[in-house]
Subunit: 214 residues, 2 copies
């Protein structure tokens, strides 16, 4: 599934899954997971250039991505990891000013999350290289300054619950990417900024993935 | 692009594009088009069985689908038809009770539109078989009783404008399906109902597509 960028059909992105991020946007802690879809046409491989349309306030949200390796519907939490071929580090770029507007109007989120280049993503990390996906450090720097720094152990809903919830509604297919939510520290990206993100195993200090874009 | 069902990566669905339907749901006439994404895992080929989850009020919305044949970004309205390989008749099934809730809360629409089997779709109709896509009759019957009957000439935003709008945000790719909105008459489908839909050329009386599901 190293080819998920080319072959995957959907990106399912979880919202509000870290308590400190929920607070920074003045939202309520969700009682169950919720998600939105991003188009795979929004992928930006590491090293690329994010395109911020005129009039858009573009925010970064660094997130752990799950790459689905085995299709499934109604996946039990205990079986979730058998469906995950590996991981990727991704940024869920968001047109925050438009999102504020559609939330107020009760309109869909697809456009505000779906612009071309709005899902920068790292290379594939095989599951075998990851000791514990629920204890990974993820961070994001803009022009060298640390802006986001979290750990996947702080998710409100853990990975097995996310996979079970999504697959209770729609079949997860080979190559689909699940974005698992962002820790706090989200903020604006301006044209010309250099963004660098990393996914590390805090137990070993090993870097698992690195993602850079301009 | 007869293989769009298997090969297509996204379904982009326009909301509120027929004035009589906008009124029946007490919404305002939009000033510009808006859309949401449905996953391709929601396709149900004609002859299949729609699965209505427990507790869900499932509504039918019969719609003309545009099958993209040539990829493009920022497509000019005058070029839109060059990107359309053909058409399909589809039903945008909607969990209306959940949609009312997410609209109230400002949450995404992806789940309420994205259940497996929530996009029944006909066979592919090549563009060459269609004289004027902006003058097609579309209808839906439940157990033999006519529930929806509209004409694509009543769209608020015509096909070239829809293709231009979507592609100003995200690249349209080969095999993508654009759903163009539903005329009035939407309503509930119950388990055991037999649904039949048709797409006709009113100028010739010719049937272009037929879609049935249970
Ligand atoms: Mg949405
Ligand atoms: Mg996010
Ligand atoms: Mg619809």
């Amino acid at each position: 599934m190293a080819a998920f960028l080319r072959q995957g059909k959907k990106i399912v992105a979880i919202g509000r899954n870290y308590a400190d991020h929920v607070k920074e946007l003045n939202n309520a802690i969700p009682k169950e997971p919720f998600f939105f879809l991003k188009p795979t046409s929004s992928y930006l491989p590491s090293g690329g250039q994010v395109l911020i349309p005129r009039g858009i306030t573009a925010h970064h949200e660094v997130e752990l991505g799950l790459v689905i390796g085995k299709p499934g519907r109604d996946i039990a939490p205990a079986d979730a990891h058998a469906h995950i071929a590996g991981y990727a580090l991704a940024v869920d770029m968001t047109a925050r000013n438009l999102q504020d507007e559609v939330k107020r109007k009760g309109l869909p989120w697809s456009a505000v999350k779906g612009f071309d280049t709005f899902t920068p993503v790292s290379a594939f990390v095989p599951a075998a290289a990851v000791r514990d996906a629920q204890n990974l450090a993820l961070w994001l720097k803009i022009n060298g300054a640390l802006r986001q720094s979290g750990n996947t152990q702080d998710m409100i809903f853990a990975i097995p619950r996310l996979v079970a919830h999504i697959s209770s509604i729609m079949t997860l297919e080979e190559g689909d990417l699940v974005l698992t939510g962002t820790p706090s520290g989200i903020g604006r990206i301006h044209a010309g900024d250099e963004i660098e993100c990393g996914l590390d195993d805090p137990a070993t200090g090993k870097e698992l993935a690195r993602l850079q874009f301009g």
